[in-house]
Each structure stands twice: as C-alpha cells, then as structure tokens.
Subunit: 423 residues, 2 copies
C-alpha cells in the first residue's frame, strides 16, 4: 500500500506473485499476494532522473550503487540481504537500471520494487561459497550492457563495498575508468519529497510513543533490559495503525555511563538520583526520526540542572538558524557560543542529515554536518537530526530531535517537551 | 559481570569510572559504576595470542582489524559506533594492541573492555566532517608504533573498510606492504571456547522463548507488525534473568512471500490456510543462536506436508554428518540427495559458521559454508547455523537451528520440535 497512511490505493500493480525458475510443486494458494512498495513508481523514477542529471554533469557513463540505503532509495528494495554484496547498475543516458542480488533474494525485489523482472539479476551461491566474488558477476553485467570501456562511478567510501570488490572490478574491466561518485546518491537524498516528509512525520510519532513508553517503564529497581524490551515493542508496534519497520537499536545508558553516546542496556536496575540517556528512532518504511531525551529518577542536583539549562538554551539559540539560506556551520556556531557562555563545550558536530536507516550504518547521511567548516547551504525539505548531547567526564545530558528545514522556524517531528524528564 | 549466568564475580576490575579530558563540572555522583565485559581478561588475551600465532606464520608484522565483530571478539568493545571507521592495531610480535575510535567513543571502550587507557586512542570529529579520513589517523598510529615500512595485514574484503580507507592507508604508508588477512580473525573465531558456548546456549534459550512468543501471538486477523513487536520484546527481555542484547531483526513473511528469505513484517493480518516463516536469533552478549520455524494457521494441505516431510527427513539425514572429522560439503551432499529423492532441490548453502552478531552484516561468519566444494574439516567447538529452508516459486518452508559440533551427534541450542508448528 501507499506509504501515506490515509491512502488505500496500492502503489504497486496487481500482478500475481512473481515466480522464479525453481522446481517443486506448484502449490495451489487461495489468496494471491500483491507487490507492495512504500511509494508509487513515479517517485522512484523521479529519484533516478535526478541522479542521472547530476551523474551526467560529472561525466559518468554508468553508476554502480552498492550502499543498501542508496539502493533502497532508488528502487524501494526492502529486504535485509545486504550482508552479501549487491549492486544497482544505473546507465546514465537512458537504459533501465539493473539490480544485482543474490539469486534467492530476487523474489524479494519483485515483491518490494516496481522493477520489471528483466531488471533484476541474481547471482548463484558459487559467488559466495567458493573463490568467485559477486563483483565478478557485476563486472559481467557491466560488460554485457556495453560499459566495458566506460567511465564508471563507484561508491569509493560507501558501506558494503570492500577494497576487494573494487579490486575485482578493476581487474575484470581493465579498459574502464573508475571514479568516485563522492556520495552522489546521498546528496540527492538530502532534500526530501513531500511523501518522504510525511513518512518521517509518522516515524516521529513512533519515536515519541517509544520515548513515552520508556519513560513510563523506568522506575526504581526495574532492570534496564526490561525497559529496552518495552521500548522495542513500542518502536515496532507503533500506534494508531502506524507500525514501525525494523528499528536501529536504542542507545540507553545510566549513571556515569552517560559520559559516552553509544552504549546500550544491561541488566542493572534503575536507581534513584541518576540520569538515563535514551536515543532512539521510530522507523517508518525504513525512514528514521532520531530523538533523544534524558530521564532522571528523583530530584536532579543543581549542577545537573545547570547542564540541562545550557543545552536547552543552546537549542533555543540554534533553532532559528536552522533555516533555508543559512550554512550548516552557522547553526553550530550559535550553539557553541551559547553553551560556552554557560561554561560547557562540545567538540563534536551537533547534527547531520537524516532519512533512510538501515542497520549496516544506521540513519546518519554522510553529507551535511552541523560542524565548523561545513558551509553547505540549507534548503527547504532537508531533514536534520539536531544532536545536542553533551558528554562530560563522568556524566552526560542528551537532547535531540529531527527537524524539517524550511523558510522559517524548522518543523518539528516530535511533540515532546525539551526539558529533562523527571520521575 | 561475568557472562556465565551463575557467576556473580565481576570480570572487570573495580576501578572507578574512566575519565576523559573534557571540561565541565565534576558532578558528585553517589554511586561509582564499574567496568563490565562479557568475559574475563584472560579470554581476550588468549584470543589475541591465537591470532598472533597465525599472523606470525603468515609473515605479518602488524594487523589492522576493521570489522566491528572482529574488534568485539578481540577486545569486548561493545558500543554501536561502527558507522564510523574504527580500527584495532595488533602488533604481531609482542606490543600491546591499540584500539582507534572516534574520540567520543573512547569512554565506551573503558567501560566495556579490559584495555588500559593508553591502549585506546580517539580521533576528533575533524576526521568525519571535513576532508580528512579516519584512516589517516590510523596511518599515523601505525607510523608512531614503528610500522611505517612493515608488512601490514588488512581486511581486504571486510565490513566497515572501504576502498577509500584502503587508498588512504596506501598513500600515507608508501613504504609499507599491505596484504589481505584473508579473514584470519574470523577463522580464529570459528572454534568457540567453553565460555562462548555457554553464552550461545543462553542465546538459544532466548531464541526458543521468542519463537514460542511469536507462535502464541499469531492468530487470525492479528497484524504481522504486532507479532513482530511481541517477538522483539521477547528477544530483548529474555527469560529467567537472561536478557538479550540488541538483536538482528527477525525475518518474517507469510503466504506467497515465503518464496524468499529476507523479507520482514507488514501490517497485513494473518489469514487461515497460509504459512508464516520466521527466522530469528536470541542475542546474548552479542552472540546469536539462529533459529527458524514455519507456523501454519489451519490445516496444512497435503503438498505442503510433503515439503515439510522432505525438509525434516533431510535434517535427520544431515545431522549425523555434522560432526568432527567430516567436511562441510559432506553434510550438504547428504541433505541434497535426501530432498532430491523427495522431488525437491535447494541451490543454496544449507548452513554456515555462526557466533558474534552485529547489525552491520548480521551473524554469518564468512568462513565455513555447508555447500558443495567447501572442504573445511569440522572441529569440536565449531557452531553451525543449519539453514534448511526451501524456497519454491510460490511458497517456502523454513527450518533452521544452531548446533555445536562435537565428536558425536551435534549439540542442539534449541529444544523446540522440528515439525511444522500448526495452530
């Protein structure tokens, strides 16, 4: 069905279940399942076209997209099979893109994308369990499409593309020229469409629901793991008919362990007089809305309130700068000065572009950073996870959420208060 | 605390919370948190020593380990920060290994490993948000340790190491020689210690609990997403004081979508007369025990029972071959012949080495495959996820679980029946 929650029209076609060439009984099924994608076919075509315009300007003949989030963006392919190499081959001029997967995953592409059957190629397990490498198969595909001597864009610093994969491509296509796409697909992903923003709003509602669930669950003597269990259930079960897709795991830490961002739960019981930092993201059709809050059991000491005050003041100062026309570094500068005036500092970026999230590398888009020296001009429709946690030597305080950049004050994807959550 | 559930001794030391060099108020905390690792320090030292023996035999002077699961194996480092480049530098002769992380993650290494503070180095955000690459920092570390002209083992086909990372190392260390470690750490990981097997048994109990939870939850008209939510809660909440660490997401599909392995839940309601395949893994201290079952609502048709019968017969035939001294391919051959005699075939491997699981690439160890041509001799203490799913054109049947290889019949990590779960 269409990702828009009010829309009941299927975005796919009503073609019957895809078939592959395997043997076995035909099995009479009484119900015929239909293909489902998060967005209509036109949305994916537009994305590919925008990519082609930029790729053409850079002189590429063909692109080999290997990052699973980029493949999802361009096709809707939604199966967690990226632990083996996969590629989307995008001819820049006009021919149809081709998706290369492990053969057993080909039906998953038929279920979740709008691609035609002849756009999906599967390599056999001999490319995984022997001496062959899946990129040899991709090289053959490139040759068969006439790109043996082409200028080929590759994701030189992407997820799921190894030095060996690169080496195999270079060996097999000795007459081709390889050049780094330099995160071209990720840059195309920066500005979200209306449909994407709607999906991210739904993700934001799931984020709020999960944070409130965690807050309700935390109490004296309860183990962190049990709160994590309930938080996961809220992230996946969702609310009001908006269910969650597979989430990036929540970060949770308490007490002195709040001095660093990326720890998770243990079996320790919650205790009075200690803070708990939670960073989580509701996921809707694999789009995430990052959200962090700090929860305090008991009465927070004055010096902790002072840290909270600095962070919230920093947020109020930074937010008006998070608007179209400003540069990424402008937002960080205002934040930095504000918290410095309160005696704190943070030597890390305070936000980044966010959108599609897969577990391989999470939800961070490696394009815009709210950090010194990042002179990217913000545009309407960009989505930014503003990450204002401060980690001190022995304690931390976390506040973050996701915003949509516009011409005025940015749009929130959360409706939770910004203050410390005291219980 | 020690991973052994009956052990109450802390495996770490009782040193106070680690500190870093940041500014800010000291914050008087009434409770001092202590370091925690899954295993005692000696276990990690043994692992590094085994790695060194093999690395020395291959002529390496130093190893640069980039795969987050390999880093976890060698150090216990347990924070999900692998979405940025990280490295463990292991001098082969005798010097202490060094862990290189993003600076904000250094305290997480102090919390979760037995490493000394001077073994943990942090790079600043200028390596992420500007033109620098974290591997330039790693190159400087290698130089400072005297490895500027050394033979350096790298993970040429590993997760989290990009062609650009490789290129940066080569440029910065022009006098060094780089050679592929060829999954050396993963090969060391193949044979599990007694402690690891105990942890995987605990993971197996969580797997069973989660599968039973899913079976209980599935019923006519319930949405798949709500079953997924309860399954996640079971995976994380665990049972009898054994909680789960962050799980790889369950694979779930119903009806004709069972013709492929890697789909997940939707909001579709469960319907009578249709199968549901579930593949999940309880995770304990990041060790997974893979488990798959098929659940059928209503009375299964005869041809589906025939597929079930072939798979279960194949399991019974293969299992006695899954023992020390046999080769990996032997197990697959017996399975293949058995199901062929029943009119089915599967052109994919039927199992692989399993152990540590991180979301970057899941729980598959890329060493042993139960597949034609894999002549690896099985040894006691190897753990194999025997994956006997068969995906036909329009329907599939899934049965899998994790076994410990021994001198006789392999040890099960599950106690669930092998038959179709009918409801």
């Amino acid at each position: 069905m269409c990702a828009a929650s009010h829309c009941q029209r299927p975005c796919g076609n009503d073609s019957p279940a895809p078939s592959s060439s395997r043997t076995g009984s035909p099995f009479l099924m009484t119900i015929t399942d239909t293909r489902q994608s998060a967005f209509p076919a036109a949305e994916y075509s537009e994305r590919v076209e925008r990519l082609r315009v930029r790729a053409s300007a850079k002189g590429f003949d063909v692109l080999v997209v290997t990052d699973p989030k980029n493949i999802f963006y361009l096709t809707g392919y939604d199966a967690y099979s990226y632990y083996v190499p996969q590629s989307m081959v995008v001819p820049v001029a006009s021919d149809a893109p081709v998706l290369v997967l492990r053969r057993q995953d080909v039906p998953a592409a038929l279920w979740t994308t709008h691609l035609d059957e002849d756009q999906i190629l599967g390599y056999g397990d001999e490319y995984l369990t022997g001496n062959l490498h899946p990129m040899e198969y991709v090289a053959e595909v490139l040759k068969s499409l006439g790109f043996g001597k082409a200028t080929i864009g590759i994701e030189f610093d992407g997820s799921s593309f190894s030095p060996r994969g690169m080496h195999v491509l270079e060996q097999a296509l000795a007459d081709a020229t390889f050049a780094d796409m330099n995160r071209l697909v990720e840059w195309v992903r920066c500005v979200k469409s209306e449909r994407e923003i709607q999906v991210m709003h739904e993700a934001g509602r799931i984020s709020d629901h999960a944070m409130e669930t965690a807050f309700d669950a935390i109490s004296l003597g309860i183990a962190e793991s049990q709160v994590a269990a309930r938080t996961y259930a809220a992230l996946v079960g969702g609310l009001h008919g908006i269910y969650g897709s597979a989430p990036w795991q929540p970060y949770m830490s308490s007490g002195q362990r709040t001095n660093t961002p990326h720890l998770r739960w243990s079996d320790e019981p919650y205790r009075m007089g200690r803070p708990t930092m939670i960073e989580l993201g509701g996921h809707r059709h694999n789009y995430a809305a990052g959200l962090s809050r700090t929860i305090f059991l008991g009465r927070p000491p004055a010096d902790y309130r002072s840290l909270e005050g600095a962070v919230v003041e920093g947020l109020h100062a930074a937010l008006p700068r998070l608007r179209a026309g400003n540069r990424a570094e402008d937002v960080e500068r205002v934040w930095r000065r504000t918290i410095e005036s309160r005696g704190f500092e943070k030597n890390y970026r305070i936000g980044y572009s966010i959108g599609i999230s897969f577990p391989d590398t999470g939800w961070v888009e490696r394009t815009i950073s709210l950090a010194p020296g990042d002179r990217t001009v913000l545009n309407p429709g960009m989505t930014i996870h503003l990450m204002l946690a401060v980690w001190l030597d022995r304690i931390g305080y976390s506040l973050s959420e996701t915003f949509v950049v516009g011409d005025g004050q940015p749009e929130r994807l959360s409706s939770l208060p910004w203050e410390l959550m005291v219980k």
